[in-house]
Structure formats: structure tokens, C-alpha cells
């Protein structure tokens, strides 16, 4: 075999080899009819952003986690820079079809100093003391959603609570009054929880009231955390709305869960919360896929913040998704995230902003 013959043959078939790239997946999204679960309807839902700034500087948190060994390290073993810590919490006000309004708290943030400050600013402390808040939902036991549990319990230790069944052992201990604060930025809780505790799992849909349900998803997250509780609402004449802490299962998972399982599940009206996409303002081509996927559901109102990633929200809006803009209220808080200072597009619902579905 002469080398020249070999090369000629090789060149002649290079086009054929290149065709291999055109062999695509045969998968097609098999559209299904909506499921049968029917948990009723509500008139409206108002979500108030108590705080979405879980930390104030991405680089500082990133450095803390990296020094501890990376994003797979146990969250209770990372030494965090304490002045960087904030927290995530939202007040959810649900108006039933008869006009009665119930209040719920989603998550309890991270730094007790910060959570005490934002709770006082929005009157959450008084609502808890007066037992105006019906239930606390802990979406998941990540640092920024759960480490500040003392800030809630010190005002209402017997509050009814939904808690993810996959939470870490230390997170259950924290509920009972453990102290892990020897490690900087790690929590303590001097007020053990005394109220009803509903530990959620994937087996069932937890109906909270007519038109409102909680679904637990066993989804992976970082820092050895798993699972997230998600709130679903069915708004009369509009469709389904999801309210999330971080949305670790993925917004498309939530929309598809509704599509598969809920009555009229193809009608998705909106969402609020962290969508866990470009968490540290990083980008991956798969985030473009999420924009494409969400567009296919024709949502009417998307309220996002926290771990969504500012750049995802901006890019999604440019692609035509109905991103709800926030205001400049967050600028009046005693601390403002470094990214918020550098951005002006207000594609986030920031601290102090509200949205009604």
C-alpha cells in the first residue's frame, strides 16, 4: 500500500465521515395530555421578596467554598466570610376564592443579623409574633435558605413547618437547637422548633389549601444538599404558578410535572423565585436551551431573582420571555450586592419588591 494511495482514498471519503455529525437524535418530545390531580383554585397570589440576596459578593463566597474543597464539600464544613452573608426568604399571601387571605413564609435565610434586619423592615417579626403567618416552608436546607432558622423560631417557635425529608442530619439537629457556629458562617439555633413538623417526600402532593399545594422533588444540589419543596398555585382563569426557593429540580421539570400530573397542567401562568441557572453569573450553552424550553410553555409572568443569574434573566428577556422588572428599593437596604450595583436593567425582583399573580 503506497502512502499516496492511502491519502487519496482518505480524502475521497472525508465528506462521508463528516456526515456522521448530521446523524441526530430521533428523540421527540412526546406531548401528553394534562394529568388528573386537582387541588382547587385560588383567586390570586402575592409574593413579597423579603430578601433574595443570599450573599453580597459572588467572588467572596466562591473563594470560601473553593478553599474548603469545592462545591461538593459538606456545607457545615465551609468557613464562610461572615460579613458577606445575607439570606433568602419570601412572604406569600394567598387570596382564596372567597376573598380570605392567608400568609405563609418561604425560607428563613442565612445570617441571623441580616434576617433580623429584613424581617423587621417588612414587619415579618411582628407577623410571626402575632401568629399571622400560618406556616413556614423550608424549600431546602442550603446555607442561605435554612441556616437563619433561629430568626424565625425566636418569634414563633411553634410555627407549623414543612421540611424536606432529604435534609442533612445536621439540619434536623439544627431544628432541635444545635450549635454549629464554631465554624464561621455556620448556624446556631437557640430556639428549638416546637410546632408541627411535616417532613416531605416524593410520594405525595401536599395540599396546603384549596388552590395551593406543595410538591417535594428529590433533586441534586451542591454542598451535599438534596431535594427541594416547591409551591404550586392554580390561579382561577389564569393557570399554574410556581414559587420556589432555588428551583434545583429545574424550571422545566416543574412545568413538565404540572403538564403530566395536574388537571389543565398545560396552562402555566407564571413563576417566582430563584431558578438556579447561572448561579454565579456563569454561562453554559445549556442555559440557552432553558430559554428555548420555557418559551415553549407560553408563560405570562416570570418573576426571578437570587440564583437565577442576572445574565440569564437579561438574555431571556431579549429572547422574548416576559420577565417582570423589579424596582430600585433594594438600593435603600443597608447592604446591596456587588452585582446589583453594576447592573441597571432591573430584571430581578429585588429586596422589597412584590409581584401579584
Amino acid at each position: 500500500m503506497k502512502r499516496r494511495d492511502f491519502l487519496k482514498g482518505l480524502a475521497a471519503t472525508s465528506g462521508g465521515v463528516a456526515l456522521s455529525g448530521a446523524v441526530g437524535t430521533l428523540s421527540k418530545a412526546r406531548a401528553r395530555k394534562g394529568g388528573q390531580e386537582d387541588f382547587g383554585e385560588v383567586k390570586s397570589v402575592k409574593v413579597h421578596c423579603i430578601s433574595e440576596t443570599s450573599w453580597f459578593d459572588n467572588a467572596t463566597l466562591g473563594k470560601d467554598i473553593k478553599q474548603a474543597g469545592g462545591i461538593n464539600t459538606n456545607q457545615y464544613e465551609v468557613a464562610y466570610t461572615e460579613e458577606n452573608l445575607g439570606g433568602y426568604a419570601a412572604l406569600v399571601e394567598v387570596e382564596a376564592l372567597d376573598g380570605t387571605v392567608k400568609k405563609y413564609l418561604l425560607d428563613s435565610g442565612w445570617s441571623n443579623d441580616w434576617m433580623d434586619y429584613v424581617f423587621e423592615k417588612d414587619g415579618i417579626d411582628r407577623m410571626l409574633q402575632n401568629k399571622e403567618i400560618d406556616t413556614l416552608f423550608i424549600s431546602h436546607d442550603h446555607i442561605d435558605h435554612f441556616f437563619g432558622i433561629e430568626s424565625t423560631l425566636k418569634h414563633q417557635p411553634d410555627i407549623k413547618m414543612y421540611f424536606p425529608g432529604t435534609a442533612m442530619k445536621k439540619s434536623f439537629e439544627l431544628l432541635k437547637g444545635a450549635d454549629f457556629s464554631a465554624t464561621p458562617g455556620c448556624p446556631k439555633n437557640s430556639v428549638p422548633h416546637k410546632g408541627e413538623l411535616i417532613v416531605t417526600n416524593t410520594d405525595k402532593l401536599y395540599k396546603i389549601q384549596d388552590g395551593m399545594a406543595l410538591k417535594f422533588f428529590d433533586a441534586p444540589a451542591t454542598l451535599q444538599v438534596r431535594g427541594e419543596n416547591v409551591l404550586y398555585f392554580k390561579i382561577k382563569d389564569k393557570g399554574y404558578v410556581t414559587v420556589t426557593g432555588c428551583c434545583h429540580p429545574g424550571i422545566m421539570t416543574l412545568l413538565n410535572h404540572a403538564r403530566r400530573n395536574f388537571k389543565d397542567g398545560n396552562r402555566n401562568y407564571g413563576c417566582y423565585g430563584g431558578l438556579h441557572i447561572a448561579v454565579f453569573e456563569n454561562w453554559d450553552p445549556k442555559f440557552d436551551d432553558i430559554i428555548r424550553g420555557v418559551k415553549s410553555f407560553n408563560m405570562q409572568r416570570i418573576g426571578c431573582n437570587h440564583c437565577t443569574g442576572w445574565i440569564w434573566a437579561e438574555k431571556a428577556e431579549k429572547a422574548g420571555l416576559p420577565i417582570i422588572h423589579g424596582t430600585d428599593k433594594h438600593e435603600s437596604y443597608k447592604k446591596v450586592g456587588t452585582l446589583a450595583h453594576s447592573k441597571t436593567s432591573n430584571v430581578y425582583l429585588g429586596n422589597g419588591d412584590s409581584v401579584t399573580f
Binding site: 465521515v17 466562591g62 473563594k63 473553593k66 403530566r260
Partner: protein, 414 residues
């Protein structure tokens, strides 16, 4: 003294025999391999270990390149510059130490020296995480830059691996046959480079250019496979090409080279081998995607974790690797069991054993991995990629087989 390719390569020349009874030799080797796997994993890779290189992509990119370098040494360079005498007489532990050290040295020079430090600093931003951090701006952060650079290294390795396999097995000594080592190895290796770099540019660079905000369309076209793959991610092309590499190893270790050995005359042998490997790779990917659809419902555009098209493409590689590890262990440690069987029968039995035990291995990994290896719980965890572990185990298998004559259970025939 270097060998001529007209002569037999060391791997063709050497003859191995079990040191004890076949079962005992195989089991001892299995035990040594398992012990080595745990030791290396816990020292170098595990998040609970010392160096914590399982990030996971940093570890993945490292083991895929070292595996390729191991194969280059054995199958392209015929262990140059070491003499036959050294290969015949040196203790397997000494040979293992020397060639493993060379592997690490080549990795440091080629990947960290040339790709990371020179190209990443002076040419292409994404090959160096410090450059990414400095120039990447939006779209990059300190937690993602190391993974992004590692992903780029991993992507670069795939066409190199595929084309290397084409040359090592689909060309063999048919090209540059008159050259002695190291010229023979170098000539073939340069040919690999010439083909692999354009393949990388076509199949992976569009993904890398889309890792930034805004998308770097002036230097990389948007992923052209979006419409057919339902994702912008190059996990699609990675899935097909990586499964093609794995498919070649299936043919070698399960089916005695069939069907890729049917054509003998060049250039048809090479063309048939290359196209055939892609067809086998696509089938491995496609069949698994059907199984995933059955297990987890259909994937959807923008889905995350198990519902992500990209993750599923990538997971076909992972599952194929579970089977491959078993296929290699079976063939290298216990292959003599099958020698007297009819070739079709033994191919069927070996394939069934590899698939069944491979699935059992996967079940064991995902059930006990968090406890035994310190990996993160969950099949589709974003911080988890079992292929890193699996390729590391293949590295150790190859060191034991190619460098150490399958010591301690086997030895060179006198």
C-alpha cells in the same frame, strides 16, 4: 536499541502466562487492581481525599489524557526509547514505575505545558482558567472557570482519542512502515494531530464559544447541532464520538475485533474502520437513549438533570464505560477461560457477562459510591460524573496490562 515497525511490536511479541492457576491468577490481579483503584482514588481524586482533583471535570480531563498517553506509548511508540532487553528483563514494578512516570511527564509537558500555559496564555482563552478569569468577564466566575477549562481539555481529548484509535487499529503499520521508532510513532502521531484538530474545531469549539455572555459568535459559530440534538451542548457530539471509541474497545475485547477487522486492504481498511466505529458508537448512544426514555420519560428542551438531553448524551458514555471496565477485566484477567470456545459463542457469553456485570457495577457505584469513594449521591448530580472514576480504573488496568505484563497474576513466558 529501537525496533522497526516491520518487526513485531512488543505487545505483539510478548507472551503472558498465568503465574498460578487461571482463576487464582485472575482473582489476585482483580484484588490488586481493586486495591490500587481505591488507593489512587482516595489520594488523588476523592473530595474527601488529599488532592481532591475530582471536581469532577478536572479529574476527568486528567485521566482521559493520561489514558491516551499510555496507549500512545504502547501502540504508537512501542515503548521507545526503552530496549527489548529492558522490556524482557526488568521487574514489572520497575517498568510500571518508569512508564507511569513518563505518562505523567508527557501529560505535564503536553497538556499543562503546551495547551494550558502556552496556548491558554497566548492563544485561546478557555484553555487556561487564569486567562478565563482575567478576560472572561460575564459568563465566567472562579468556581466555573476551572471546570470550563477542564471541559475544554476533555473536549480536545475526544477527537485525539478517536483518531488515535483509528490509526492504532485501523492503520496499524500500513503507513510509514519503513520508519523506525520514534519516527514511526511521531509520524503517525502527527497525522492524528492533523485530523483531530479540525474535528475538535467542528464538533466542540462551537460549544466553547457559547460559554460566554454575550455568545462569542465572531470566533465560534453557534452550535450547529442544536436542531438535531435539542441542545446547544457539545455533550451530543461528545456522546457520539466517545461512544465510538468505547465501541472500538468493545470489538477488541468482546468480539475479537469483529466486525471492524473484516476489511484488510488500505485505504478501505482505514475508512471502513473509521466509519464502522462511528456507526457502532451511534448505536451504543441511540440504544441507551431509548432505555433512558423508558426509565425516566422523554427528555425535553431546557430540561435539567435526568430530563436534560445533554446529560443523557453524556450518560450514555458513563454507562458504556461501566460495561467497558467489566469487559476489560474479563478479557485481561480471565480471557483464557474462553479461548477454547467457538468464537461466536464466546463473543456472546463475554458480551452478556459484560453487560450484566456492568449494570451491576453501575448499581453498586451509585448505591455505595458516596460511602466508598466519597462521591456525591445521585445519578444525575451536576457535580458527579462517574466516567472520571471509570476512566481512572481503566488507566490502572492499562498500566497493569501494558506496562507491568499483568503483574502479579501473570508473567512473561520464558
Amino acid at each position: 536499541m529501537s525496533s522497526s515497525p516491520k518487526d513485531e511490536f512488543w505487545l505483539e511479541e510478548r507472551q503472558l502466562e498465568p503465574r498460578w492457576a487461571l482463576a487464582a491468577s485472575g482473582l489476585v490481579n482483580l484484588g490488586v487492581w481493586i486495591a490500587a483503584v481505591f488507593i489512587v482514588w482516595w489520594i488523588v481524586f476523592s473530595n474527601e481525599g488529599i488532592f481532591k482533583l475530582y471536581t469532577p471535570l478536572l479529574g476527568f480531563s486528567l485521566v482521559i489524557w493520561t489514558l491516551l498517553i499510555i496507549l500512545w506509548q504502547a501502540e504508537l511508540f512501542d515503548f521507545w526509547p526503552f530496549s527489548r532487553r529492558f522490556l524482557q528483563t526488568a521487574h514489572p514494578l520497575a517498568k510500571g514505575a518508569v512508564f507511569t512516570a513518563i505518562t505523567i511527564a508527557v501529560y505535564l509537558v503536553l497538556i499543562f505545558g503546551i495547551v494550558f500555559f502556552i496556548i491558554g496564555k497566548l492563544g485561546i482563552t478557555y484553555f487556561n482558567w487564569n486567562s478565563l478569569m482575567e478576560f472572561g468577564e460575564l459568563g465566567q466566575d472562579m468556581n466555573s472557570v476551572r471546570e470550563n477549562t477542564s471541559w475544554a481539555m476533555l473536549c480536545l481529548s475526544i477527537p485525539f482519542f478517536l483518531v488515535s484509535v483509528w490509526f492504532m487499529r485501523g492503520v496499524g503499520k500500513d503507513l510509514f512502515y519503513e520508519l523506525k521508532e520514534p519516527k514511526f510513532g511521531l509520524a503517525n502521531w502527527l497525522f492524528v494531530v492533523v485530523i483531530a484538530i479540525p474535528l475538535y474545531a467542528v464538533f466542540f469549539h462551537p460549544h466553547l464559544g457559547s460559554m460566554f455572555y454575550p455568545q462569542q459568535i465572531y470566533t465560534a459559530v453557534p452550535p450547529w447541532w442544536k436542531a438535531i440534538a435539542h441542545t446547544n451542548s457539545a455533550e451530543y457530539t461528545l456522546g457520539i464520538l466517545f461512544c465510538s471509541v468505547i465501541g472500538v474497545f468493545y470489538t477488541l475485547h468482546l468480539w475479537d475485533g469483529w466486525p471492524l477487522n473484516l476489511v484488510r486492504r488500505q485505504p478501505w481498511r482505514f475508512i471502513y474502520f473509521a466509519v464502522g466505529s462511528l456507526v457502532i458508537g451511534y448505536l451504543i448512544l441511540r440504544i441507551q437513549l431509548w432505555i433512558f426514555d423508558w426509565l425516566w420519560h422523554e427528555a425535553y428542551v431546557g430540561g435539567q438533570n435526568k430530563a436534560s438531553f445533554g446529560w443523557r448524551y453524556s450518560h450514555t458514555v458513563t454507562m458504556a464505560n461501566f460495561v467497558l471496565v467489566i469487559a476489560l477485566v474479563q478479557n485481561l484477567f480471565f480471557g483464557a477461560f474462553y479461548e477454547k470456545m467457538n468464537v461466536i459463542l464466546r463473543s456472546i457469553i463475554k458480551t452478556v457477562v459484560a453487560i450484566v456485570l456492568g449494570l451491576g457495577f453501575a448499581w453498586g457505584y451509585y448505591s455505595w459510591g458516596p460511602l466508598l469513594l466519597g462521591v456525591t449521591e445521585g445519578v444525575s448530580h451536576p457535580s458527579e460524573n462517574a466516567s472520571a472514576f471509570l476512566i481512572m480504573t481503566i488507566n490502572i488496568l492499562m498500566i497493569q496490562d501494558l506496562f507491568m505484563d499483568r503483574w502479579p497474576g501473570y508473567r512473561l513466558k520464558k
